[in-house]
Symmetry: C3
């Protein structure tokens, strides 16, 4: 039976670590989530589909988390968080992409624990990504 909950994430923590912490505390190995709030810095990535590598960039400054969506599954036997984010600056302009991390100013997590056998990520040679194994 799926379980849903809302959790306030801690000021000053890294957002990816904080989500991983909630999943660890509640033993969530399979689930999905959204987050709203604000960050005081962010590390984003963009996947180069031709070169098959992630490009990375750090953004300093205060941003609203306009949207953040992600999921929890297993990679190399460990709990793995995959999340994408949209950030708004003081002029309401947006940036976004694959979320690597970022310092939490305030963040509210809405999370669904599927309480099922976890999806497992395997290397996919076509994309160069670790994708869910076909079940």
């Amino acid at each position: 039976m799926p379980k849903m909950m809302m959790v306030g994430l801690e000021y000053g923590s890294d957002i990816m670590d904080a989500i991983r912490g909630v999943a660890a505390d509640r033993s969530i190995d399979s689930g999905f989530f959204s987050v709203i709030g604000a960050l005081s810095s962010a590390n984003l990535a963009y996947y180069d589909q031709t070169e098959k590598v992630y490009r990375k960039r750090s953004f300093e400054g205060a941003y609203e988390i306009a949207s953040c969506t992600g999921n929890i599954s297993l990679k190399d036997g460990e709990r793995f968080i995959h999340a994408h984010i949209v950030l708004a600056d003081e002029n309401y302009n947006l940036i976004g992409g694959h979320l690597l991390g970022g310092r939490i100013f305030a963040a509210e997590l809405h999370i669904t624990d599927l309480e099922e056998k976890a999806h497992v990520r395997d290397y996919d040679p076509v994309t160069g990504l670790f994708l869910w194994r076909r079940s």
Copy 2:
């Protein structure tokens, strides 16, 4: 047991009032939601993390709701809606931030009622925001 539902919101209403109305009609004090649709005006805010005040701006014009995510909890004993939004204009350019309100052209709400004891917001001196009390 959580309950999930989809609700069409009324043309011409304010989006925050409409979400509040759905929550009131169904007695949802704890939950989270997403919305897609379109607005014909929007009031957004950006939280200044240094000055600890919300900056506000009104946007006139027709926008797609590219994303809208939020939650329901209690503040000062009243049901309180917290939502962030991403809006797309006719050139597919985006703006976004903290949602104060906006006139609905069309809006489809996907809402999860956690049917649990409501989260309560308290003033947090570190951020200047009203955050969920630690339970």
Copy 3:
């Protein structure tokens, strides 16, 4: 009883077809979803609220799916997918709007099957859109 699941969508498929396929395979007539991943092309639309027509534009290139939200209901007796999307390019700049289609590079779907009588879309003369019939 609502059912929630996560499904990896197939490389090279059209994202709207792929979501429709998941809904068909699992007989989901009423539900909502989010998606993260990446596209290698996208077809977006913007609804002109005055002229009551969709403007369309195609975007070639590799984009992260920064956010994608949608729902499933019935229109003309057929399963109908309605989705909005936010896409991030290599410079972390975003575009977005109503999603018509796009080629999947990788996509992870989080979907909730409401397992209830489906919402039905009817033509709404005020907006020119097909909106959920009041129940």
